[in-house]
Amino acid sequence: MRAFQAELSKLFSLPGIWLAVLIGAVAPAGISALDSIAQKEDIVAGISTRLPEAGFIGLVLGVQGVIILGVLAVSSEYLTESSESGAGHQITTSLTAVPSRIHVLLAKAGAVAVISILQCIFAILTTVSVTHLMLGEYTPSFEGSRLLGTVCYWVFTALLAFAFTVLTKNALIPLAVLLINSSLVSFSVLLSKITKLAYYLPDRAGAEMFMVMGDRIHTPFTGGLVMFGWVAVLFIIAAIVFLRRDVAA
């Protein structure tokens, strides 16, 4: 519990984390508002094909906030101080304060998960409110199960980013790959044009927890299960590497 509190304290004293929290909390409502404005005419005319997505489109993109959170939580430990400052790393301090590496890892993952959940709940509240404000009586219903799916999607994504960064120790690759994948070009969507296996990639399968897709092959539950499988496997690999790796390596 102390280790968990220490990890929360670490996260909230980093400016980068506040940026991540802000993006996750504000962006979904903003994007949903823009999308609602663009779609409103079609929705009112009853010809919109994307009505079920209203609001959720912002929540899909808002996941970027928790990606940054998951990545920074780990990469901040490995950030090297400038050579003029002695080229130290925070990870040495972290591991001499809590010597059980598995405790450090679980405490950190727990802190990331808890912040992601709170961030997602806040994003849902603002997004639903904004969508209501924009679409008024035309607002589709936000089912509880889909909203729960959204929360799971955010937490799983944060943990994937977290585990990925444990392996790379560096923010650059995971941030680039995950942010591009979740915003500009979704590799899983591209791959799904080629092979059915792409439907089992974590972001694609996980999105089926709350997005209504034309070409879906999972139920929301199995989609979530597939994504959770990815999280579990990647986390176990990350844990093994983290437990065995020399800090100096």
């Binding site: 102390r2 509190q5 980093l14 950030l79 400052s85 925070q90 040495t92 001499t96 010597p99 800090v247």
Partner: protein
């Protein structure tokens, strides 16, 4: 030959640091080739060697940060990872400040205090001891090397531990800082604590240490009290150069 053979005995002694036959290989390179020595309570033990001799590797293994290929490095008879609340037993300062540059010095010490279950008031105490009270609200990235080292020392002292393990603690400090470290370490040892510090700066060390372990190319080449290691040489520094030059083995 100044090299002592040390009979390993497995008796657990309070606050003793025991390094026994430590070997570390990374790839094909052997960084440590059977290092053995002890650091005793009530004494400051200087761990000397040129850059790349294996000092930091030894300290990292002792702190559970790196794994030994073979051999043991025990604190109080236990591996570091088995210590229940390590900050109150071992204070460590390795490279730089050990803090994230975007965090303030105070925030760094606060999360550490939380990890160890120490009160926030202790953070202010160690900031005071380290002379950082006025800089505590600034980001660590804006600190000078010396201030970063003071922050690392503050972190090491946070849990008021019986053992201090310090890697090059005087590196980057101004004369006042060096004097501060020296006085601090002498006081810690005088009150019965164990202090192990590494350095490649002999002059700074001679006035601080009681015992000296000299390491060169991953091997211990001398181990004894300051007087024993200095031997017939005029200073510790000249003894050190004699020991670590290529003909080091000839020195008697």
């Amino acid at each position: 030959m100044l090299l002592y053979t040390w009979n390993h005995n497995r008796k657990e002694v309070l606050w003793l640091l025991t390094i026994h036959n430590l070997v570390k290989r990374r790839g094909n390179r052997e960084i440590l080739s059977g290092i053995s020595f002890i650091a005793r309570p009530g004494r400051v033990t200087g761990f000397l060697g040129p850059n790349g001799a294996g000092k930091s590797s030894t300290l990292r293994i002792l702190l559970g940060l790196d794994r030994a290929t073979s051999g043991s490095a025990l604190i109080h008879g236990k591996a570091f990872a088995e210590l229940p609340n390590p900050l109150t037993t071992v204070g460590a300062a390795l490279d730089g400040s050990g803090a994230h540059p975007m965090r303030t010095g105070r925030a760094h010490l606060r999360w550490l205090a939380r990890a160890a279950g120490l009160p926030r008031s202790r953070v202010e105490e160690v900031l005071e001891i380290a002379g950082l009270t006025n800089a505590a609200g600034r980001r660590v990235g804006s600190y000078s090397l010396g201030m970063g080292r003071r922050l690392a020392m503050a972190a090491a002292l946070l849990g008021d531990p019986e053992i201090l393990i310090l890697d090059e603690p005087v590196n980057g400090l101004d004369p006042e800082g060096i004097r501060w470290i020296r006085t601090l370490l002498r006081e810690r040892a005088a009150s019965g604590n164990t202090v192990l510090l590494s350095s490649h700066l002999m002059g700074e060390l001679a006035e601080t240490v009681d015992d000296v372990v000299v390491i060169h190319h991953g091997k211990v080449v001398a181990d004894g009290t300051l007087a024993e290691v200095t031997g017939n040489h005029s200073t510790l520094e000249s003894a050190f150069f004699a020991l670590t030059s290529e003909r080091g083995g000839d020195v008697s």
